[in-house]
Amino acid sequence: MNAEAAANEENKSEKRTKPSLWKTISIIFESRVATIGMVMVAFWVIVGCISLVWTPYDPNSSDFIQNLSPNATNWLGTDHMGRDLLSRLMQGTQVILLKTRLPGGEHSIPGGVAIWGVLGSLFLGVILGLNAGYRRGWTDQIIMQVLDALIAFPQIVLYLVVIAALGQGDMVVILAITITGAPGVARLARSLALDIQTRDYIRAAETRAESAWFIMFREILPNARGPLLVDSMLRVGYAIFMIGTLGFLGIGLPPPDPDWGSMVNEARKYIFVNQLPVIWPALAISTLVIGLNLFADGLREELMRYQK
């Protein structure tokens, strides 16, 4: 019996199926860190989804006695205006993760400010980064020089400048996240492109005289998506962090919908009396950011292992 035939036979038992999406997702569960992170993130996404249709009470009306500690009616207590903290906390998830209010305030689109901001920076950053990394030479120098200038802005200062110039609003925050995030994404995309473009399959594409855009987006990008995905998750974390900070500074997402940062801001004046209204949103931000970080860390490790 010929050995190659034997080896082939062995292979036949493997089904002729494309690697399913489920298989890709399942690698998350191979890492304990990623799983924990995903559970934390999923928790807040679910809470947000629920809050879209139901919150225990109206988050914006003062229905209760002020500064209650947690009890059977108000599980997390109430704030200085007698509003239910649980409802407000739940509602706070929305603007970050689930909906963006369009200018005018009438309509909103799905996907939170953090998500859209990161998508924006991903879009801009990937285009710039791939061009810089693949074309190199002058293109690279110019793009990098501009990005260097952008990166030189301390993020919060850039937000302040943008907000000072353009005023407040969901779109402004998205724009600010996009501008501040794009250089980082571009740098990452560039370094990935620089690495990937040395591979022989890029040479093979070039010997077919494929266009630069084809090579960048069909040959390079698919192989860069792992690290970009991981990076985006971290960026969503940073964005949430930032939105919180802006909210705290009172220049973030405009009222009336509560966001966690502004909840802290309002409550801190009463911190001597009641610490809970500060603690809950603070915990919410931390857990969500930690969750995203863990998820990203775990995913990165798994992807590296997977590629080996």
Binding site: N2, A3, E4, T198, Y201, R203, T207, A209, P222, N223
Partner: protein
């Protein structure tokens, strides 16, 4: 020769490994990287260990100094060093052994030296830490040792950083570092694999000399049968974590006993053989991964002699009566290598000579490729410095007839890859002419006609990067078909499947992703992709150099077969002279951007040689310990391509320069001397003088294929 009786104590091997098994804990269990390794190395002996990648060679070495990482451990067996068991030793005791009694040299010297410490510091600490020597005394000893490893300008090297010396010199430093404490045992894990042939040859010479001087026992791990034949006194062959055969080097190459060893011998082309005189027989299948080794004999799925017993019972390593050979096979006495017949379903390339066609498909005349580089002075920063160029290819001229193969050989940095890139259009030629099918191809690829691009395709070196990891095999082969509109869309799938079949891959590979394929399979897909557009000329950039020998043979056969079937013309770049000789009708030898010698393959490999060709041939490791090679070595290091020596670029290192009455003539451009029509040598030395030189290599004809 009869020696006076040695004392019993002299027979105690320096290293004695018995039934060693090393396991790594992995998620969900553990895998045995090596199982059942037995070997012993005596004082002053050089014991080769040879095998394909993934056979556990390195693990074997690391286990000796118990450096197996957090998850590896010795599961069974003993490792005795100087009669003392090392297994289970740790901490301080082990540390005192490492670097003092047992030293190690491994593959990549650039990586293994600390790039932020000067070399002197790294050398000295071996002495100061182990012997408590003073800094000054250590410095003196280190310089002396550097001189012993023939390091030029030793005292200065002590103050340099690793990146300031060449790769070959780095490896010398690492070897010097290993020998400083006069270790009883030296473990060498592929120490020359990353080096060029001529550098490798010099390092191998050095190792042989040092072994004699220090009487050190050496364990030499390599995948290269040629190297092992040159350096070892005894050899162990490893396969899938087991030692399958051990013998003296002469015995092993004369009469290999294990079917695997025999298979290996049939896979490698010997220097001087070519496709018309011999055939390479690949070993079918692939090395099983540590987790998936078969029951019974580990080799049975790939063995041509497999019987029932082989599948059921694991053979023991047993001694063959009357010899020093040990083999792990039930039936080795019954197997006669001479009467081996290839299995019927193994498809081999035809060896029929093709009919002569005189059409030139590619003609290159005076081709130049310069790269602009920037200097480091302040002037250069502002673009005011003198313009500097790397002269990657200078005045390359050759012709390739249709249906033939041109092999281009040379060491790294000789410009062979640049030459090919310029031809295919990834780089634009600086000057000169290049015509392919009568069309000018000195322009870049984007300026070429699509029909022309289609006729000129390329096969790449590294199987791991030749395919885009994100797309399936089918998608990747289909892409050139779509791109060049070779056929209507609905027929593409059929064509891809046809191509796969002709690469001996069946249709289930269509939907596989590259990471599910082995190196050889990836390389086949790469070839299929290059062939999809039915090109007239395929450029192969070291297509087999990253592959294991058994797979390498299969790929070479495949390329030969394709050439036979489609009449494709091939340009074959390689640093391996044996493979090039085997594969090509014409050979072109390059050095530092210049073509040194050009001609029909059989003439290149026989006198008259260009001095550089001579040095290359003398350096090639030949998998035959009885082969005799003259020692012709190049001196010094490869000069920078930014300021190459004027005239003949070899003049700084030429081993034959003194044959000329006036060596200064080498500073002028040498003439092209025509040996025969089509065979040219670029050298000042007159042909008659060159003809007087004896052949570098003499091999006794032994044909394992029978």
């Amino acid at each position: 020769m009869a020696e006076p009786t040695r004392r019993k104590s002299e027979d105690i091997p320096v290293l004695d490994i018995e039934n060693l098994a090393v396991a790594y804990k992995v998620r969900g269990g553990e895998v045995e990287a090596i199982q059942n390794v037995t070997l012993d190395i005596k004082k002053g002996e050089s014991h080769g260990i040879v095998g394909e990648s993934g056979c556990g060679k390195s693990t074997c070495a690391w286990s000796i100094i118990n450096f197996l990482g957090a998850n590896g451990y010795v599961k069974r067996g003993t490792i005795k060093f100087q009669g003392k068991n090392l297994v289970g030793k740790k901490g301080e005791e082990l540390r005192r052994l490492r670097g003092d009694q047992i030293a190690m040299v491994y593959q990549d010297p650039m990586q293994s030296l600390n790039h932020s410490m000067v070399l002197g510091e790294q050398l000295k600490e071996v002495l100061t830490v182990h012997q408590g020597m003073s800094n000054k005394a250590a410095e003196k000893d280190c310089i002396r040792m550097l001189e012993k490893v023939q390091m030029p300008d030793a005292a200065n090297v002590m103050r340099r950083f690793p990146h300031q010396i060449s790769g070959g010199q780095q490896q010398r430093v690492v070897i010097a570092m290993a020998l400083l404490n006069n270790p009883a045992l030296l473990l060498m894990d592929e120490p020359t694999t990353a080096l060029d042939v001529t550098v490798e040859a010099a390092v191998l010479d050095l190792i042989a000399d040092l072994r004699k001087e220090f009487n050190t026992a050496i364990m030499y791990i390599t995948h290269d049968l040629g190297v092992v034949a040159r350096v070892s006194t005894r050899v162990g062959v490893m396969y899938a974590g087991e030692m399958v055969e051990r013998a003296t080097v002469e015995e092993l190459f004369k009469s290999p006993q294990h079917p695997y060893t025999q298979g290996l011998m049939r896979c490698v082309p010997k220097l001087g053989t070519d496709r018309s005189s011999s055939i390479l027989y690949p070993i079918p299948g692939r090395v099983p991964p540590p987790g998936g080794r078969p029951a019974g004999c580990v080799f049975w799925p790939r063995c041509d002699y497999v019987r029932k017993r082989c599948r059921e019972e694991r053979p023991k390593l047993r001694s063959i009566a009357g010899t020093e050979t040990w083999v792990r096979c039930h039936f080795s006495e019954d197997i006669d290598m001479g009467s081996w017949e290839p299995p019927e379903d193994l498809v081999l390339p035809g060896t029929v000579q093709k009919k002569e066609v005189d059409e030139t498909i590619l003609e290159v005349k005076g081709l130049k490729k310069y790269y602009r580089v920037r200097g480091n002075s302040l002037k250069d920063v502002f673009g005011m410095g003198e313009k500097q160029y790397v002269k990657a290819v200078e005045h390359a001229s050759f012709k390739v007839p249709r249906g033939k193969t041109l092999g281009i050989v040379g060491e790294s940095g000789c410009g062979k890859s640049t030459l090919v890139k310029t031809i295919i259009g990834l780089e634009r030629a600086t000057d000169g002419e290049a015509r392919f099918l009568g069309f000018d191809i000195t322009n870049s690829i984007s300026a070429r006609d699509r029909k022309l691009i289609q006729e000129l395709q390329m096969v790449f070196q590294n199987p791991d990067s030749t395919m885009n990891p994100s797309y399936t095999v089918g998608q990747q082969i289909a892409r050139p078909l779509k791109r060049f509109n070779v056929m209507p869309k609905e027929k593409i799938t059929d064509e891809v499947l046809r191509l796969l079949r002709s690469m001996r891959l069946d249709e289930k590979y269509y939907d596989r992703l590259p990471r599910q394929l082995s190196g050889g399979e990836k390389q086949r897909v790469g070839i299929a992709r290059a062939l999809a557009s039915h090109p007239d000329l395929v450029l192969c950039d070291e297509p087999v150099s990253a592959l294991d020998v058994s797979v390498q043979a299969a790929i070479i056969n495949l390329l030969l077969e394709i050439q036979e079937e489609f009449g494709t013309t091939l340009i074959f770049i390689s640093h391996d002279l044996s493979v090039t000789r085997f594969f090509s009708e014409y050979v072109c030898v390059m050095y530092l951007g210049q073509i040194m010698e050009l001609g029909p393959a059989e003439e290149i490999y026989a006198p008259p040689y260009h001095p550089y060709t001579e040095a290359l041939l003398s350096a090639v490791p030949i998998p035959d310990p009885t082969a005799k090679q003259k020692r012709v070595r190049l001196q010094g290091v490869v000069p920078s391509a930014i300021a190459p020596p004027s005239g003949c670029r070899l003049n700084t290192r030429c081993p034959r320069r003194e044959m000329l009455p006036d060596p200064d003539i080498c500073l002028t451009d040498p003439p092209w001397r025509e040996v025969h029509p089509g065979h040219h040598i670029y050298c000042h030395i007159p042909l008659d003088e060159l003809r007087k030189i004896d052949p570098v290599v003499s091999i006794k004809e032994v044909n394992h294929a029978g």
